[in-house]
């Protein structure tokens, strides 16, 4: 597969997330890009290898296309009239940053479970009684991404 098609598929995945808050299935790729099912599977695997998206282990379902999560998480982001799920604290603000949209984030304190609500309006985040902690040094982030 040529590079252009590969990155067009990546762009389609992101656009699908933005417009539906869900990832496309691999079955949606062949008709749109005039590919065989095997080529679509190969494209998803290649994008996974390049860290452009992440597949659920043993499947061709998209688990993550950062900042978007393909599954429900405790990091809920309301933006553009949709509810998105983020992969982590960082990605919960990554969604309004990527969409260039206002957003309301609903999450919780990892220790107490108390709700944490953040608000982004006109490119500014409202002050909040909360902090974010990154546990793992950057050089290890890609060792086991779902754990991050």
């Amino acid at each position: 597969m040529d590079e252009d098609t590969l990155w067009e598929i990546r762009a389609f995945v992101y656009q699908h997330f933005a417009e539906t808050a869900r990832p496309p299935g691999v079955d949606e790729i062949p008709r749109r890009f005039a590919l065989t099912h095997a080529e679509a599977v190969s494209a998803f695997e290649e994008l996974h290898q390049r860290h452009a998206l992440y597949l659920q282990p043993g499947t061709h379902a998209i688990l993550m296309a950062n900042p978007f999560s393909g599954v429900e998480t405790p990091f809920r982001v309301r933006a553009n009239g949709r509810t998105y799920f983020a992969n982590c604290a960082w990605d919960s603000l990554g969604i309004p940053a990527a969409l260039h949209a206002d957003a309301e984030v609903e999450a919780a304190c990892a220790q107490s479970g108390e709700p944490i609500r953040l608000s982004v309006t006109d490119g500014q985040v409202r002050k909040a009684e909360a902090l974010a902690h990154f546990l793992i040094p950057f050089r290890h982030w890609y060792n086991d991404l779902p754990l991050t």
């Binding site: 990605d91 603000l93 990554g94 220790q111 793992i136």
Partner: protein
């Protein structure tokens, strides 16, 4: 597990103790927003094809993230 929210420094300390974990990098919400904007602002673009190690290092440097935690 890696990137979590806490209500306070005290809550973070309790969590670190209960998980026998060492403190990593801590961000205020404003700092996290600045990092999010810099990291994700171009993510929806069809032209985004990932980043090189050098580009990542540049972003961290711009944001003052220069400790060993951010070294590649």
């Amino acid at each position: 597990m890696n990137m979590l929210f806490f209500r306070s420094e005290e809550a973070l300390d309790e969590w670190l103790a209960s998980h026998k974990a060492e403190r990593g990098a801590v961000f205020s919400i404003q700092q996290l927003w600045e990092l999010s904007q810099r990291w994700y602002q171009d993510r929806m673009s069809p032209e985004y094809h990932g980043r090189t190690v050098k580009q990542v290092q540049e972003i961290f440097k711009e944001l003052g993230l220069t400790s060993t935690f951010w070294q590649i």
